[in-house]
């Protein structure tokens, strides 16, 4: 379905762009048909940047993103429309995804005008009703309302319904439930699970590990733009090997056990030695000489990749 190969995103920063910032470096992974893959990372780990590159909202510095046979980086302007028929995104803040001056259903009208100008009003109305029912909303209750009259969960489901109108095959869900309340967020998650059963592939971007675990088959852990660890969710959560993943999982607040005091290692405000070496060097309790070289993800078990010298090259 989707294949990322050595994708890199570099921003020029500083005066006259004299410095480079690697937001994403050499990220490769793929997503199969009907699969949910979680992209997990802290703020600044490059997870949103990857989502934006897949959606062709930001150019790729190097590497390729292939969706089936389409090369996303080489999309021409006139091919974009076709691309967006199959790939859509839903973003974090549902309130800022709408224009507050217009009614919320305007997002459906726009889709109608741009993608389906030939469909007549009646048939279109039916299609909208069906999409709304698919996302668990009652069209009678939610149509013809302004964004402020709907709750965050409803608005977020509206956006998913909008994506469904387009017969999409791939959805980029960027932190779509972090703004929602506990009582409604689980409904949106369950909705994603339903859609997945119908064959939709989803890139689920999140910083919340328990949500990722709930919904996805595979997970990719990002740190400072590099893949630290990836593989099936069971392996990542039950037997994490990268020190960063281990620390992350130990820091998740749980309802069945209390935190272990010792394990947290906080963000270093002035990380050193990560330009060419392991990006986790400044925070890692196990760092040693070899870590001045950048580790690459190595498959240590079936579908379980780790980028850490201590794990992949224990003899040095």
């Amino acid at each position: 379905m989707l294949k990322l190969d050595k994708v890199t995103k570099t921003y020029r920063i500083g005066t006259f762009g004299s410095k480079e910032l690697h937001a994403v470096s050499d990220v490769s992974f793929d997503i199969k048909d009907g699969e949910v893959v979680s992209l997990i990372g802290e703020s600044g780990s490059g997870k949103t940047t990857i989502g934006k590159m897949v959606l062709h909202l930001t150019p790729i510095s190097s590497g390729t993103i292939l969706l089936d046979e389409t090369d996303v980086s080489a999309l021409k302007e006139d091919e974009e429309k076709e691309y967006y028929r199959t790939v859509q995104g839903v973003f974090q803040d549902p309130f800022s995804s709408y224009n507050p001056i217009f009614k919320a259903d305007r997002i459906f009208e726009i889709i109608h005008d741009i993608f389906y100008p030939d469909v007549d009003e009646e048939a279109w109305k039916e299609k909208v009703h069906k999409a709304l029912k698919d996302v668990g909303l009652n069209p009678e209750h939610v149509l013809d309302k302004f964004p402020h009259q709907l709750s965050g969960g409803q608005l977020q489901r509206f956006l998913i319904a909008r994506a469904l109108l387009l017969d999409i095959k791939f959805l980029v869900a960027d932190e779509i439930i972090s703004m929602l309340d506990a009582s409604t967020r689980i409904d949106v998650l369950n909705l994603l699970a339903e859609l997945k059963k119908k064959g939709l592939s989803i890139l689920f971007i999140t910083h919340d590990l328990s949500l990722a675990n709930y919904i996805s088959e595979r997970a990719v852990i990002l740190y400072r733009g590099c893949i630290a660890e990836m593989g099936t969710t069971e392996k990542i959560f039950n037997s994490p090997r990268h020190p960063y993943t281990q620390m992350l999982i130990a820091s998740v607040p749980r309802l069945d056990q209390k935190w272990d005091k010792a394990v947290t290692i906080e963000e270093n405000s002035d990380p050193i030695g990560y330009e060419d070496g392991c990006v986790y060097y400044g925070r890692c309790p196990l760092a040693y000489e070899k870590c001045r070289e950048r580790p690459v993800p190595v498959e240590i078990d079936t579908d379980h990749f780790v980028a850490c010298w201590k794990v992949t090259d224990p003899h040095t």
């Binding site: 802290e42 009582s183 689980i186 919340d208 675990n213 709930y214 969710t233 607040p253 749980r254």
Partner: protein, 320 residues
């Protein structure tokens, strides 16, 4: 008894009428207690936190009293509260990372704050430095601008500033919500450390994340649509809640290790009522699977076991 709130009612004034954001709230916090205050957005938890320290328009005091360490807190009079703020009751505001003045060095900013309280900065400085060590911030931060600090560091800086005068009650409003898991854990653990080191006597931790409260709070109070639903020790709320809202809320939380394929979690159908014209009686009635006729009356917040308060007719009908 550190804090005692009785029948506190606070509305928001709007052109379309009063939004009844806080209705007849009564509870107590013991000395040294860390109380978690949880609920969905719009349930009135931030309104409650703010009305204890800074009840400013459009918030409108309607009735009720607040006592802190046996003294009456004049929450309804903004001016009279000045001498209590920071000295006796203090707050770590929501979005604390944006609470620092971006054009002042942090040390200078603290100096100005302390002088505004008519106190000598030099006398406070040794304690300030000790507190910085406590939250694991380098002392050099005093010579830095806020932009040079990461989000978690700014959050901790604000924690130090809020507690520098050793308030009796500290309110932490959503302090962990905007942080990454690792910083979240560090900040939450520091809140406990502040209490243990007597930087503050008792604490109210406002958050929507109940799993954080399970880690740090002694007791949890659940609010729904401006009313109190349940208050009990953390263990009781998590393991044997009695109010239907609490039960549904706890069971909708995805835990690590739970997958939708093994165990499909359910949300709570419906949405909270608008507080401009709230339903009569129990405000959870519309969404409650157990609702019956009696629920058209407001359920009293009653102690059903020691230190376990519930506002639900199903639980308290025999007692009332």
């Amino acid at each position: 008894m550190s804090l005692k709130v009785e029948n506190l009612t606070v509305y928001y004034q709007t052109l379309r009428g009063d939004v009844q954001a806080l209705e007849d709230v009564s509870f107590e916090i013991a000395d040294g207690e860390i109380m978690g205050l949880a609920g969905e957005s719009g349930c009135g938890k931030t309104t409650l936190a703010h009305s204890l320290i800074y009840l400013s328009p459009p918030m409108k005091y309607v009735k009720g009293s607040v006592q802190l360490d046996g003294r009456n807190l004049p929450v309804e009079r903004m001016q009279d509260m000045v001498s209590f703020r920071c000295n006796d009751i203090s707050i770590i505001p929501q979005y604390a990372m944006n609470a620092l003045n971006p054009i002042r060095k942090i040390g200078k900013m603290i100096e100005e704050l302390v002088e505004a309280k008519k106190m000598d900065f030099e006398a406070i400085k040794p304690e300030l430095l000790r507190r910085l060590d406590l939250v694991k911030l380098p002392r050099e931060v005093l010579d830095m601008y806020p932009i040079e600090l990461s989000g978690g560091m700014k959050q901790r800086m604000v924690m130090v500033i809020s507690t520098i005068l050793n308030p009796s009650l500290l309110i932490a409003d959503e302090v962990t919500s905007a942080l990454d898991v690792a910083s979240q854990k560090a900040v939450a653990e520091m809140l406990v450390e502040f209490r243990d080191q007597d930087c503050t006597n008792s604490m109210i931790v406002v958050t929507h994340d109940i799993s954080i409260l399970y880690q740090i709070a002694d007791s949890i109070m659940i609010m729904y649509a401006g009313q109190l639903a349940e208050k009990a020790s953390t263990k009781t709320i998590i393991n044997s809640p009695r109010h239907p809202y609490t039960k549904m809320l706890i069971s909708s939380l995805p835990e690590i290790g739970v997958k939708y394929t093994d165990k499909r979690l359910e949300g709570i159908p419906g949405k909270p009522p608008l507080l401009l014209d709230p339903p009569i009686g129990c405000r959870f009635r519309e969404r409650c699977p157990l609702a019956f006729d009696k629920c058209e009356e407001v359920p009293p917040f009653i102690e059903i076991e020691e230190n376990h308060f519930v506002a639900c007719w199903k639980e308290t009908e025999d007692l009332a």
